[in-house]
């Protein structure tokens, strides 16, 4: 139904409001894009003039709901000022259509209406209207409301852009983190050289955690393994991981004692890292000539050590200060037998704190029992240690890789078994 302008929403006097609004009035940001939807030429003119006087530089006028949808998609306005009574598609339908489009889910829609009917207003809110401005329109009120909504939209845009920027950076950092892990080729070479089976499953946290591990050949009979977990997340974690990796590449050339390694690193980190970004680290040297595993830990999770000939799995002692908290912290070096068939499992603490779809690990004892089950099972069937190694690793891998929810921390599993069958 076509309404008489004069009867239902008379134009306010622009002259009357021109200077009254000027004193403390807000101004519309230069880069704001506003879409005015109104079939009434006179009102189009009034709204344009009012908005331009308040600073609007990018105004788009649609005369119908259909045209409004087209212009909105073309110009992505920061604010839509919408009339209700229009031919073809009225304001109700236009509002509903706009909200169906994900592009305009959060775009403020300021509805101009002469109605006093509260049910009608409630209906408009239900359809997605953000706010109302009553006809006859008071220019000061229109500008004030427009400015508030435009500011919110611009703030949201800015936040969304920042989030997108951070997400992109995090994605790159995650890929870089993965690139620091030992390659399959490196692990295969080392396995062959030292006759040690090494299997790894690593999954990043959704916001970048602080886990990293590596394995290096020291000489013909020895290799060094480490697993590190920084407490921080995000960008700080990425920087810490890269610094750690670089330091370790040099240190493994000169320090072959896990205890010395930790004490050296602790001195560096106490000086350079804030205390809340401490590091948990496990370092081990495997000597295949003397059949030993020598390790030191800095507050790391307790690795599961399994003797295949007895199928006895136990948790290694790792009680110690993490790196970077205490100046001159000293670390203990432990040594255990590590003969053919013996195995070591290293894992992130997220294995216990995360709720897995397939199987939960309440604490380190339950992980130890899980390892023990696989080795006991292989031994009872006269299967080699390599069989236990494979079944254990595949169980973890299946649990982690088939988990669909985002992880709150990196999860890293390393299974290492001395194996003459390789």
């Amino acid at each position: 139904m076509s309404l008489s302008l004069q009867e239902h929403h008379p134009l306010p006097s622009l002259k009357k409001h021109r200077f009254a609004a000027a004193a403390n009035a807000k101004t519309i940001p230069d880069n704001a894009r506003i879409l005015v939807v109104d079939d009434d030429k006179l009102y189009q003119h009034f709204l344009s003039l009012t908005l331009r006087k308040a600073g609007a530089k990018h105004l788009f006028i649609a005369e119908t709901g259909v045209e409004a949808l087209t212009l909105a998609r073309l110009h992505r306005p920061h604010l839509i000022i919408l009339d209700i009574n229009m031919p073809e598609m009225d304001g109700f339908e236009c509002c509903a259509q706009l909200r169906k489009d994900p592009l305009f889910l959060h775009t403020p829609i300021l509805v101009q209406t002469a109605t006093q009917d509260e049910d009608n207003r409630a209906h408009m809110f239900n359809l997605g209207a953000s706010d109302f401005v009553r006809k006859p329109i008071n220019p000061s009120e229109l500008i004030a409301r427009s400015c508030v909504h435009i500011e919110h939209t611009m703030l949201l845009e800015h936040t969304q852009a920042s989030v997108r920027f951070l997400q992109k950076d995090l994605l790159i950092a995650k890929e870089m983190q993965l690139s620091l892990l030992p390659s399959a080729h490196k692990v295969a070479d080392l396995s062959t050289q030292h006759q040690i089976a090494v299997s790894n499953c690593f999954k990043n946290s959704h916001d970048l955690g602080g886990d990293i591990w590596d394995i290096h050949t020291i000489d013909a009979h020895r290799c060094m393994l480490y697993h590190c977990d920084f407490s921080a997340h995000g960008i700080a974690s990425a920087i810490n991981i890269f610094r750690f990796h670089t330091i370790m590449l040099e240190l493994v050339k000169t320090i072959q004692s896990p205890k010395e390694m930790l004490e050296h690193l602790n001195a560096i980190y106490f000086e350079t890292l804030p205390v809340d970004q401490f590091t948990k680290l496990f370092v081990a040297v495997i000597d295949t000539q003397h059949n030993t595993l020598t390790y030191s830990a800095a507050g790391s999770t307790r690795p599961v050590y399994t003797r295949f000939n007895t199928s006895k799995s136990l948790l290694l002692n790792t009680r110690s200060f993490p790196l970077g908290i205490v100046a001159d912290a000293s670390y203990t070096e432990h040594s255990v037998d590590f003969s053919q068939g013996d195995s070591l499992l290293l894992y992130s603490d997220a294995l216990m704190s995360h709720s897995w779809q397939r199987q939960d690990f309440e604490d380190d004892n339950s992980i130890c029992q899980f390892v023990n089950y696989h080795f006991e099972n292989a031994r009872s069937k006269n299967l080699p240690a390599s069989s236990a190694h494979t079944s254990l690793f595949q169980s973890f891998q299946h649990t982690i890789e088939h988990h669909e929810q985002p992880l709150h921390d990196d999860v890293n599993i390393i299974v290492l078994t001395r194996n003459s069958d390789i």
Partner: protein
Amino acid sequence: MIFTQQIDNNTLEVRLSGQLDRANHDELYIFFDYIQDLKVHTVRFNFSQLERIDSASLGYLILARQELLSRGIAAQLTNIKGQVWKSLNLMMFDKLFDIV
């Protein structure tokens, strides 16, 4: 979740409950800001309702300890149990804090 309660003029008890992880880091940050102006002799962290704590939250705790000690305020931990105790024990927190 973090609640604080003044026990007496000298001690502030900070009760931590549920799971302390990334979801609560804002709270920890606010708490850290709050302790900057504290005028007590002791801050006691009560872990009786705490089920889990992640490494980053432990980092905040160490930072809080450092801040408190620098102003002569004792930092205590109490009622540590279960998985939380295991985590703290592994990292020798008993050597960093008074456990009461």
